[in-house]
Assembly symmetry: C2
């Protein structure tokens, strides 16, 4: 369970620095510039370059069957487990754009490869923004030149890159953690699932200077995302563009054990996920749903998700109402093994429903604060999982309905 | 596909009278009274009695694993395919109330049996209201006496019963349709899935004077509900108390064919479902999602439901935004067989997304009205289904969060 250290459940046991990100590990440069893709003129193109000596890489992508062009491209190039650079743009998702959209992604990768003296297959592409619109390629390509010229190491360059990918996010989200043996993991993230309506997508770039080969990097990334990114569920959405990439330069010369590396990668990922939850659109409550006593971890996750996605639960929590009846109703919809007679529900420490019948009066649960902890005990096994979510507020409806395309 | 006549997809092809309900078919009496279960003093207890000569019956119940006491009771007694009467109360769901709650339901059935000179196993019980509270049994039992004394045939008695079961519904919902060969089907309904927050539950009582045995009645009810009640999805909720019962008196002396009976039962059920959609909490848009070209009907239903339950789609439609990108994203989350390159999306007649790429400009779709028709073509088969839903409005959030327990 080393991977659980720093999972959204445990909370990070590692000191995480939110002022640093992808350029903190040795061997990386980054840039973030305004290419004119966004009509607002805000920064909208980021570049993260791995200067080596190694170029191991891995990635995980959206499970949505409607995948954006950059996802289709990056899924192909990552198969070789090597990347020289990642180019990211906001201001357009390049999703549902057909063969022309895929060609735009390919052209972007070729341009980055050209300026970096690499091959197009060494370049991953990420896009976020409106679905169904072609990108203004002239601006994307000139933006790549501008970004290449601005490439630098250090804290500022990392922050520029983390800022250029933002859409409806209210702030950049960075995290970095170092291992006592002399290597570190850093990264930035934007969005949160389909939290940001048309401006879809969760994009995350992680870097490390540890010496680790691509297959181990891939295994560590899957272990880390399973207990972090996969445990945040704001509105059940999984976008057409969701991407998490990790690049390793090996510049520290240190080879950590698989457990050490997975633990630190998980700690950094878990911190980034908590930042996504805290910056969710319209969020007024940060909710952690822990499901205990499940027959399997998959059952625990399913029950946590069905509660996290239930609009009646989410609206009740927005109203600070410890409405355990709605939680029991939502749990009952799960396919997971459960028995209503064994079920218990605790909210912020108050046991309101115990083994199929009411326990303490709901007034015992104080939901006036921003943080809400729900603990569900199924009592049919010993598997456990925690899902993070947010409430369903007027602001959520406003931000997602007032948006005009 | 006779059963499709009058399904939510086709719309009723039969003349339906919304002024009549359970007492319109011969052989039935009903009553609705104020028993004092609701603190408001509004009507809260209804009785529907079958005077025969026959007493065939069938029922379908919530699939939720957390079932209210009256559901557990009624599921048992319906196994004999015979019912003398149904007693329904609003003002309390009697769900999550443990063994004591089940005893309360049993006691209620025994009381009704006593006043009607029947056995407790001939009495179905339905409850709706707050989850987790015991019922005030003294008031329930005295209410049964009051209701029994008020039992009558005719339009007024049916309306009284249809009114006594209401919770957050804004109006009673009745439907009746006659067959030219001299028999009819009538019914009333309240709620809509988990539409009514704590005041959970969809309850429906249908009656007929056709001559039809319990097994055929059961088959017809399952065929009818599959294409009507099962095709309304407002917020994905299925309550702890959902119940649909059908009682047959055989008083017309007419034995319809299975097809004739299923068609008329489906027409009446479909009309009641459209009334549920129109009275949904916070509804500002009545949305029909038709999925065509699916590999199987189950796939069509899954895709329709995943779109109907997507908060980003529901908030966009509240904002009258023909946001096909969110619909494509939602479809992509389905397990159903589909290919993004074949997918098309039409909204109110405008083809906005065709075979994987954008078609007409979204401005071609006018969503200013209350009715929105979404047609999704998967082009992987020839199965089809229509799901009815509503939008996610500020009023929905308000009604579901401001509610104070």
């Amino acid at each position: 369970m080393t991977a659980e250290a720093g999972s959204v459940a445990a909370g990070s046991t590692v000191a995480v620095d939110r002022e640093r990100s992808v350029t903190a590990p040795a061997g990386f440069r980054a840039a973030g510039v305004a290419a004119g893709i966004k009509v607002s003129g805000a920064a909208d193109l980021a570049l993260v370059v791995n200067d080596g000596p190694r170029d191991d890489a891995a990635g995980v992508f959206t499970t949505n069957k409607v995948k954006a062009a950059p996802v289709l491209w990056s899924q192909q190039v990552i198969k070789q487990r090597r990347l020289k650079a990642v180019v990211l743009n906001s201001g357009g998702a390049n999703a549902c754009t057909g063969p022309e959209g895929f060609q735009d992604t390919h052209t972007t990768a070729e341009k980055v490869a050209e300026v970096l003296g690499a091959g197009a297959v060494d370049i991953a592409v990420c896009s976020t923004g409106l679905i169904g619109e072609r990108l203004p390629m002239d601006r994307v390509l000139s933006g790549v030149d501008t970004a290449a010229a601005a490439l630098a190491g250090g804290q500022r360059a990392g922050l520029d890159a983390a800022t250029a990918v933002l859409t409806t996010d209210s702030r950049p989200k960075q995290a970095w953690a170092a291992h006592p043996t002399g290597w570190s993991v850093g990264g930035f993230v934007k969005g949160a699932g389909m939290l940001a309506p048309n401006l879809a997508t969760m994009l995350c770039v992680l870097t490390t200077d540890a010496v680790i080969d691509g297959d181990q990097l891939d295994a560590a990334l899957r272990a880390a995302t399973t207990v972090t990114f996969d445990r945040l569920d704001v509105d059940g959405g999984t976008s057409t563009n969701d991407t998490v990439l990790v690049l390793s330069s090996g510049a520290s010369g240190v080879t950590p054990s698989r457990e050490e590396f997975t633990a630190l990668l998980t700690a950094v990922s878990g911190d980034l996920v908590r930042q996504l939850q805290g910056d969710a659109e319209g969020v007024t409550k940060e909710i952690a749903i822990t499901v205990r006593g499940a027959a399997t971890e998959a059952d625990a996750v399913e029950v946590g998700r069905i509660v996290a996605e239930d609009n009646l639960v989410k609206t009740a929590l927005f109203g600070s109402d410890p409405n355990w009846g709605r939680i029991a109703m939502a749990i009952g919809r799960a396919k997971a093994k459960l028995d209503a007679e064994l079920l218990s529900i605790q909210i912020n420490g108050a046991l309101l429903f115990d083994r199929g019948t009411r326990a303490q009066d709901r007034s015992a649960a104080d939901l006036s604060g921003r943080d809400i902890d729900i603990v569900i005990d199924l009592r049919v096994g010993d598997a456990e999982a925690t899902i993070l979510t947010t409430d369903l507020s007027h602001a959520y409806v406003e931000e997602n309905s007032a948006y005009s395309s």
